[in-house]
Each structure stands twice: as structure tokens, then as C-alpha cells.
Assembly symmetry: C2
Homo-oligomer: 151 residues x 2
Amino acid sequence: MSRESETAPGVELTTRLGYLIKRAHQRLIELTALALEPFGLTGRELAVLLVLDALGPTSQLAAAKRIGTDRTTMVGLIDGLELKGLVVRERLAEDRRKNVVRLTVAGHGTFVAARDASDAAEAAFLQDLSESEAAQFRSQLLTVLGFDTGD
Amino acid sequence: MSRESETAPGVELTTRLGYLIKRAHQRLIELTALALEPFGLTGRELAVLLVLDALGPTSQLAAAKRIGTDRTTMVGLIDGLELKGLVVRERLAEDRRKNVVRLTVAGHGTFVAARDASDAAEAAFLQDLSESEAAQFRSQLLTVLGFDTGD
DNA sequence: TATTGTTATACTCTATAACTATA
DNA sequence: TATAGTTATAGAGTATAACAATA
């Protein structure tokens, strides 16, 4: 939305990795936001649904650590998802300090559709790369982040 | 900073491009901030210095468009750089609406050293990739962003 | 009337501290 | 004491609107 009056960046910027990654990140954020809009979801909310689908019922703190945020942010995220009827909170009987969060049936359906839409946004983002280039790009990101060695 | 209590992300997240790029971006931001700290510069301030070095004396608006931000943000950036003695503002005689901003001698010296430090941070970010992988990674970012010149 | 710089304002995202209830 | 959830607050970062000076 802030792209109206932007001139083409010069080489002094396009040779900077930081500039390129920032722009790429912003572009993917925009594409993803557009793809998730019909579902009333943000990218962060989809990340929570991904975790709940993968782990099953999960405490708010465990989910927060899993996506790399903190407790206080997770409260708001779960608030939003619960308001939309996609998840429910339940006090855990064995430890009543914990709220176990789980997907509702509707939540699972929305999740699957939203994930597909997000996949399509990723594909659009990568559309100018060949299959093998896209695979390399993904692999190199994993390497840079140290997620590929089973460390 | 917020990494102490973070558990390893699961495949449900590490297979998402958005998650990977966000993390990569954050990592590079951290490395760059650390590298620029001795110079009292932020990444955005370095971007302004890069533009001023490449283009020579430049109006605030032209510089803003070049780095993809707006006038109001540029005011604050130039305020900071001027306070540090790295740039000076001068009203343009031919069009007194325009502030032409240029590097001081000290500003140029700081810029060169800070750019080298930022280069080193980028190299550290890419250290687990081979030379050719790093070059591919850069090239693929350019392609995805449509900055490919097809050189 | 349009452009450039400026200020003020608001809005998002996130981080920190403190409070509650449970353990 | 420590932990999980919650609330309130503040701090970046950025976007929008309005104003002053100039064209």
C-alpha cells in the first residue's frame, strides 16, 4: 500500500543483502495477507493454527514458544481465534494454571483452506524461479538459519 | 534477547516460506545492528548514507523515494544523521523548497567503515553457504523481486 | 494549485512489568 | 517460590493528515 511513489532502487541498495531480504519479506507479507484476507486470518494467526494442528491441544505458553513469541502476545492471538470460533480454551484438569487450546471442527476446516491459500501465495512469490531454484532457495534459508543439520 | 526460552520450531513452521524469511530477516537485522552499533548507526541510516554516496547531494524527497520510504520518515533520519555530523542540509538556490543533503567528510569516513562492518555482518549471515550458494541466494532474491537485469 | 519539508497524530507490532490464580 | 495466563503500558516503526514555505 506504500508503493505508489517509489522509484526503482539503485545498485547501491540492490547489492545489499539486508535490503533484498527486507523487500522480499515485505512482498511475501503482502501476498500472504491478501491470500488470508477471505478467511479473516493474519499470518501469525495461521502460524498458531499450524502449531495446534501439528501438536494437538497445546497450552498457550507452549504454543507461544513454538512460534517464537511470548505469552502476552499469544493471549491476543488466541482471543482473536476464539472470537472467530476457530479454537476453544479449556482449563487443564491436571494443572489448572494452564489453558489448553484446541482447534474446533470449523477451525480445522478454515485452517486447511487458509493453509492452501497461503501455499498459493508462496508459489506466486516464487513464480519467477524454476522448481529447482525454488527448492534451492528454501534449502539455503534453512541452512542459513541452522535448521537443516538436525543440530 | 527474546531467544532464551524459544523451543526449536517444528516442521509445521520450517516448511513455511513466510516463517523462514521472517526469521532470516530478523537474524540479519540483529547481526547488522550489532555491526553498526560502534558507529552509532541503524540499518536505515546506513541506507541513507549509501544513497548519498552513490548519488551525491540529494533532496530529502529523492532520497526517500530511493530507499522506499516517505518524506516524513526521511526528516527524522536526516535529523539523526545531521546531529551526528555525518550530513548537512542546504537549501537549494534554484528551488528553495528543497533541502539538499550531502555527506560531510566525517560522514563519508564513517560511511565507508560502517559499510564494511555491514558487509562483514552479511558474510557472517551467509557463512554456512558456499560461495556459489551465497551467489545463488542473492541472485534468487533479485529474481523474486523483479530486479533482475539479466546481466 | 502543486511540491517539499515539517509536525502532529495514530496505528501496528512487540517487549516489559505487574497482577491473579494456581502449583 | 515458581509457573501460566492476563492486563496495562511503553517503545519502535511506519503511515496519514495538515500546515508553512516555495514554486
